[in-house]
Amino acid sequence: MTKSCPYHRVLVLGGASEIGQQVLAALHLPPDAEVLLAGRDEQRMAAAAERLTRRVRTLQYDAAATGTHQAVIEKAFAGGDVDLVISAAGILAGQDVLDGDPDRAGLLVQTNLTGQVTTLLAATARLRAQGHGTIVVLSSVAAIRPRRANFVYGATKAGLDAFARGLADSLHGSGVRVLLVRPGFVIGRMTRGLRPAPLATTPAAVGRAVAAGLARDATVVWVPPVLRVFAVALRLIPRPIWRRLRR
C-alpha cells in the first residue's frame, strides 16, 4: 500500500555496471517496479536481472555510439514515465596506455562524457515533459583536480561534473532533480589490478550512499562522506607538490 520508495520505473544506463546494480539493490524497489537495464554486456545484464527479482527489460546501449542515444531513450520512455535515471556508464584506462594510444583516449572521452551528455539531454527532455523524476550522475573525486596519473579520466569526470551541476540548475522548478555522486576510489571490476587509494570505497557503499541521498533529496553525495573535507585539501595542495604525486 504505502511505500517509502517512490520509484516504479528505473532506467540504468550502463546496466551491467557494478555501481548501478548496487544502487538498485540499496533502493528497495517496490515489488511491482520495472527496471530498464541499458548496456552493452547482455550476459552480465541477464545475470543482474536474475538477482533483482523485479520486472527487468534490457536495452542495447553503447555510451560511445552517440547517434543511437535518442532512440534508446525513446524506447525506455515508451512504456510510461521513468521515475529514476541512473547514469552509471563509464570506463577507465591507465594513463600510460592512453599516452601510447590517443584513439583510445578519444573513446574514453566519448564514453564518459560525450555519450553521457547526449543520453542525459535526451532523457532530460522526456523528464521535463513528464514533470517529475530524478537523474543520478556518477562523477568522481577525480573531477576535483586532475592528477598526473589519470588526467584524461579526470578530465572526463570534471566535464561530466560541470555538466551535471549546470543541468541541475537548469532543471530548477521543472520538477526534475539531479543527484551528483562523487565517489573516491571504488574497489571493483573497473579498478581491478590498481592499488586502492586512501579512503577507497566499494560499489555497495556507493549504492547505499546513493539510496540515502535520494531519500533525503540531496544534491551532492560524497562516498565516503569524509571526502567532502578531503576535497578541500586536494584543492589547496600547492602545484609543485601536487605534481610530484605519483598516483
Binding site: 500500500m1 504505502t2 511505500k3 517509502s4 514533470g131 520538477g175 540515502a212 531519500a215 533525503r216 533529496d217
Partner: protein
C-alpha cells in the same frame, strides 16, 4: 504581466516553474480560462499552503487573482471580500465594527480565496466548524469561462466541491461570509501545562471555551511523551477599558524578518533543546488577556520564518484521526523521534463535526500537525509509516499542508471522490484548472 517564475509553497520543497500573471479584471480572467491553455490555469492566493497546492508546472498561475477589496455590511453582519483580500485586510476593516471572521487560521496572511479552496479551520473548529459553514456565496469563473454564483442551497454539489476543492473547480472571485459579533477584540486566555499526552487530550476534550489548541513538545519521549500546553480562550464579554479605550481595533504588531539560512539549523538536538525550553519556561497555570494577533497569529510575529529552516525547506505533516484512535497521535510522535526527523513544532487540536465538502480536511476527532525540516534522511520513511497508521484508522492528512502524499494513500484517506469528480466534471468539463497537487493525487488529468 506575464512572467516565467519558479513558485514554491510555504515549505519550499517542490519548486515548479509557471507562467505567472495577475491581478486581472474579470473579463481578462474569463478570456484566459476560455482559451484553455494546454497545461491549465490555477489561482494562487498567498502561497501559504505548505506543499504544491498552489503550483502549476508549465501552466498558468494567476496571483493575485483580483484587486483586494473588502465590502462590509455592518447591519447584516456580512462581508463580501475579493479572493485576494487577506484575513488581515478583512479584520482591519471589520473589527472596529465589532465583527470578526468566524474562522481564523494560524496566519493572517492567507487570502480569502485560498481559505475557501482549502476549507480552512481555526482554533474554534470544535465549536463553530470550518469556514464552509459560514460562507453564503461564492462567485467563481468555471472551466468554460462563465461566471457562476454558488450558494449552499442553489447548487450544493458545486458549492461543496469548491469549498476545500484546492482551486480545481474554478477561479474564485469573491466570497460572502457571515461574520461573528464580538464586544471586545481582546481574548481571555487560560494556559495550562500538562505533563503527558493523556493530560493534554483530557484537557482539550473537557474544555467548554470557544477556542482551544495545544502546543505539543514533539521531542519529549517516554513518560513525558506528548506533554504540552493547552491554550483555551474566548472573547471578553465587554470592551477592556484599559486596553481598548477607543473601541475595538485590529493592529498587528510590527514584525521582524527571519534571515534566510544557508543551511538547516534544525537538528534533533536543537529541536529537543528548543521544545524543552519552551515547555519549562511556561508556568503551570496562567490566565492572561491578549489581543487577536498574539493569540491567533503567533507565528506571524516573524516574517518569512520558513526561510530560517534552510534551503531544503520544511514539511508539515498534519493529520486527523477519529475518536478512539488517540494511540496514533502517540505513535506519530514516537515515529518522528525514532527516525530522527527533528520535529520542532507540534500543534494538537480537538475537531468537531466535519463540513460537507468531499475534500474537506476536518472530521470529528484529533488533529496533530508536526513541523520538520525537509532534508532529514529518515523523513520519507517515517512519513510513509505515518500514512499507513493514519489510513489504517480511517484518518487523513490535510491537503493544504501536504507536499508528498502518494496517490494510493490519498485514495484510501479520501475515498474514490465520485461526488467531487462529478461536480468538477460539471464545473470544469475540459479540465482547465490544474495544479501540481492535483496531478500528483490524480484529482486532475495531465
Amino acid at each position: 504581466m506575464d512572467a516565467n517564475q519558479v513558485l514554491t509553497g510555504w515549505g519550499r520543497t517542490r519548486p515548479s516553474r509557471a507562467i505567472v500573471s495577475g491581478p486581472m479584471d474579470t473579463c481578462a480572467l474569463q478570456e484566459l480560462v476560455a482559451s484553455r491553455p494546454a497545461r491549465g490555469v490555477l489561482a494562487r492566493g498567498a502561497g501559504r499552503s505548505y506543499g504544491d497546492a498552489a503550483q502549476n508546472l508549465d501552466g498558468h498561475v494567476v496571483t493575485p487573482v483580483t484587486q483586494p477589496t473588502v465590502e462590509l455590511d455592518v447591519a447584516a453582519g456580512t462581508v463580501r471580500a475579493s479572493a485576494s483580500a487577506t484575513f488581515a485586510e478583512v479584520l482591519a476593516k471589520a473589527v472596529p465594527h465589532g465583527l470578526i471572521l468566524p474562522v481564523l487560521p494560524g496566519t493572517r496572511h492567507l487570502t480569502m480565496g485560498g481559505a475557501v479552496a482549502a476549507d480552512v479551520h481555526g482554533k474554534n473548529q470544535h465549536a463553530d466548524g470550518s469556514i464552509a459553514a459560514w460562507i453564503d456565496e461564492i462567485e467563481l469563473i468555471d472551466g468554460t469561462g462563465a461566471l457562476r454564483t454558488l450558494t449552499p442551497d442553489s447548487d450544493p454539489e458545486a458549492f461543496h466541491a469548491t469549498v476545500g476543492g484546492m482551486g480545481l473547480t474554478g477561479l474564485i472571485l469573491t466570497v460572502k461570509i457571515r461574520m461573528m459579533t464580538v464586544r471586545s477584540a481582546m481574548i481571555k486566555v487560560t494556559s495550562c501545562r500538562h505533563a503527558d499526552l493523556d493530560g493534554l487530550l483530557a484537557a482539550l476534550d473537557g474544555t467548554r471555551e470557544r477556542y482551544s489548541v495545544a502546543w505539543v513538545d514533539t521531542t519529549a519521549s517516554g513518560r513525558s511523551l506528548g506533554r504540552g500546553i493547552v491554550d483555551t480562550g474566548d472573547h471578553l464579554a465587554g470592551p477592556d477599558p484599559l486596553r481598548e479605550p477607543d473601541g475595538l481595533t485590529y493592529r498587528p504588531p510590527h514584525t521582524r524578518r527571519a534571515p534566510a539560512m544557508p543551511f538547516c539549523p534544525v537538528t534533533p538536538l536543537w529541536a529537543r533543546w528548543f521544545n524543552s525550553l519552551w515547555f519549562s519556561q511556561a508556568t503551570s497555570y496562567r490566565i492572561a488577556v491578549t489581543d487577536l494577533p498574539t493569540f491567533y497569529h503567533r507565528l506571524d510575529a516573524v516574517d518569512g520564518w520558513n526561510r530560517a529552516i534552510g534551503p531544503r525547506g520544511l514539511i508539515q505533516y498534519q493529520f486527523v484521526v477519529p475518536d478512539g484512535a488517540e494511540n496514533v497521535i502517540a505513535r506519530a510522535l514516537e515515529t518522528v523521534q525514532r527516525h530522527r526527523c527533528a520535529p520542532f513544532l507540534g500543534t494538537l487540536k480537538r475537531f468537531g463535526e466535519a463540513s460537507k465538502g468531499p475534500l474537506s480536511f476536518p472530521m470529528r476527532g484529533w488533529s496533530l500537525a508536526i513541523d520538520m525540516p525537509a532534508g532529514r534522511p529518515g523523513l520519507r520513511h517515517a512519513l510513509a509509516k505515518l500514512d499507513y497508521a493514519v489510513t489504517a484508522v480511517g484518518g487523513r492528512v490535510y491537503l493544504a499542508k501536504d507536499a508528498r502524499l502518494g496517490r494510493a494513500s490519498f485514495d484510501v484517506m479520501y475515498g474514490p471522490q465520485t461526488a467531487w469528480r462529478a461536480a468538477r466534471a460539471r464545473l470544469d468539463p475540459d479540465g482547465v484548472f490544474q495544479s501540481d497537487l492535483g496531478r500528483r493525487l490524480g484529482l486532475c488529468a495531465g
